[in-house]
Symmetry: C2
Subunit: 326 residues, 2 copies
């Protein structure tokens, strides 16, 4: 199922016209706001990969030619994603995202919380104006999952009982549920039947798993300049992600680090030592293999759907997730 139609995750020529429509509409929505909020937001919306709008659109195009509903669902999905990023930056006290200063860093938490709320409201306004009630249903459920997932994760103290299952439950809520909702929304706008919509959702779920696993790997292997954020952020936060789970499965490393990994405020030297040992342990390779497994599963689900060029692009896009550098 490998093809060369999509050389770059950022640019998919077969849907460039539709993506331009989505982009214009997204900008129009932001322009609607008061001048004070426009300036804050425009900058933040620049530079995204627009993965979620692409997924809405492609999932829709698998079942029908482009329609207005797909365009607006895609716009709403990007608005929701962006609102959650703005709030995540407040929560994580991040100063940078995509090598650009965050809203909380420049304007303070006050403005960042409100700007996020504003964008959430905008998303629902778009969905409501277009009577996209079913899409709204998928998306509000995903937002609730995202919030619940993050609250649960934060309230759990780091402990070594985090296993693969719990990790997957967490990333499902945190990341995969919104990606699944995007795919379901698209399919719904494309008038897919209930079974097809559910399958598309399942595809999104596995793609979301792979996406988050790679993200968690990049937190360890990426350097600051590539990630646009400090390396081993998860380690600092005491988040036991998949590479750490695999690392601790090795009895030697478990003996050495089981208590250290539960600490916060690790010294930089200790942080680098852990990362070095983790890289030597083979845990990264195992985590990549798991992500690969998820991509495979995602593509198998696609196989059960009608053939189309857009299905092929979705399959390629799943592959590209593995090659992602940030």
């Amino acid at each position: 199922m490998i093809s060369t139609v999509n050389p770059n995750l950022d640019d998919i020529p077969q849907i460039s016209k539709e993506m331009k429509l989505i982009e214009n509409e997204l900008m129009r929505v932001i322009e609607e706001g008061d001048e004070s909020i426009r300036g804050i937001l425009k900058d933040f919306f620049a530079g995204g990969k627009r993965l979620r709008p692409k997924l809405v659109l492609l999932s829709g195009l698998c079942f029908s030619p482009v329609n207005t509903k797909m365009i607006y669902s895609a716009v709403a999905a990007e608005l929701i994603h962006t609102a959650s990023l703005i709030h995540d930056d407040v929560i994580d006290r991040s100063d940078y995202r995509r090598n650009r200063p965050t809203i909380n860093y420049v304007y303070g938490n006050h403005t960042a919380v409100l700007a996020g709320d504003y964008i959430f409201a905008k998303a629902f306004e778009v969905l409501c104006r277009q009577n996209l009630n079913r899409c709204m249903g998928y998306l509000v459920e995903a937002i609730q999952e995202m919030c619940t997932g993050e609250i649960i994760q934060a309230r759990e103290s780091p402990d070594l009982t985090v296993d693969e299952d719990r990790y997957f439950r967490t990333i499902e809520k945190k990341t995969a549920s919104l990606i699944a909702a995007c795919c379901k929304s698209g399919a719904d706008c494309g008038k897919a039947d209930e079974v097809q919509i559910e399958k598309m959702g399942l595809f999104g779920l596995y793609l979301g798993y792979a996406f988050q696993i790679v993200d968690d790997i990049l937190d360890i292997t990426g350097d600051t300049s590539e990630m646009g954020k400090p390396v081993a952020h998860d380690l600092e936060e005491g988040k036991i992600t998949l590479p750490y789970i695999y690392f601790l499965r090795d009895r030697v490393w478990e003996a050495k680090y089981r208590y250290t990994l539960m600490e916060r405020n690790l010294a930089t030297d200790m942080k680098y030592q852990i990362i070095r040992d983790l890289k030597h342990s083979g845990a990264i390779t195992k985590a990549y293999a798991k992500a690969e497994e998820c991509v495979k599963k995602a593509k198998e689900i696609l196989n059960e759907l009608p053939d189309s060029i857009y299905k092929q692009i979705l399959a390629d896009l799943s592959e590209k997730v593995m090659l992602r550098k940030r």
Copy 2:
């Protein structure tokens, strides 16, 4: 138009059955969530005056017998209001609300931001499930107004050019727009015609003005135990509210305080001195008179709507806003 049907703003016997329904539904919505989030929220939802659900309900009952749409619109309005309070507490770094510790104080900003987002999503889920698209339209617009209003207010440095007009524009966005949206939602659910819906919205707007003016007065005249928050919070934040605007209209006080009022981190002694002088200046009386004017205007608008017991209750409720202690 004064009557004795409503001895207490908190308890309106004529709608107690409907309010119970709303309360149950509100609790059911909260119970739906994961155990981790339920515990956090239940406490926060207790103890509210439920002004907004009452307004939705009463505005609806002015035009038709109770229906499911009114109940769910009322639930959504309270959810939106609560979500915005949770975020306001993060923004204002408040430790207490209604004499209870805030979510940010107990669980941290992290959980409070997410809990607010979760509640916003729940509100839209309720509206979406009940196909209340028109109500959603009113409410999302109000949320945007609220966010924009607060961002504008925060970005303006305190200066003495704040006049009555600008104050009203700010409180319209911050408070009155949501109250107006509640009244419009109720009327809409009661199948009022467009003109009636707009009038109900205008009633809400004036009621909202009065409500916020009284709130701003209580920030100065209330003591900590009554308000559940520190006194003269606005002064500390450099917010020039209506009593301060009237205070500075007096040339003597303007000469004495024009620069002091622009400062942040005022010494406690200076704060108490300003408040003492402001109370002597007659500015509080003038602000109350202005709120009274708004209530009068609100009741005039009601006069243009069909007579009913519920219209009378709305008129009484407007009066009660003036007597509010917190």
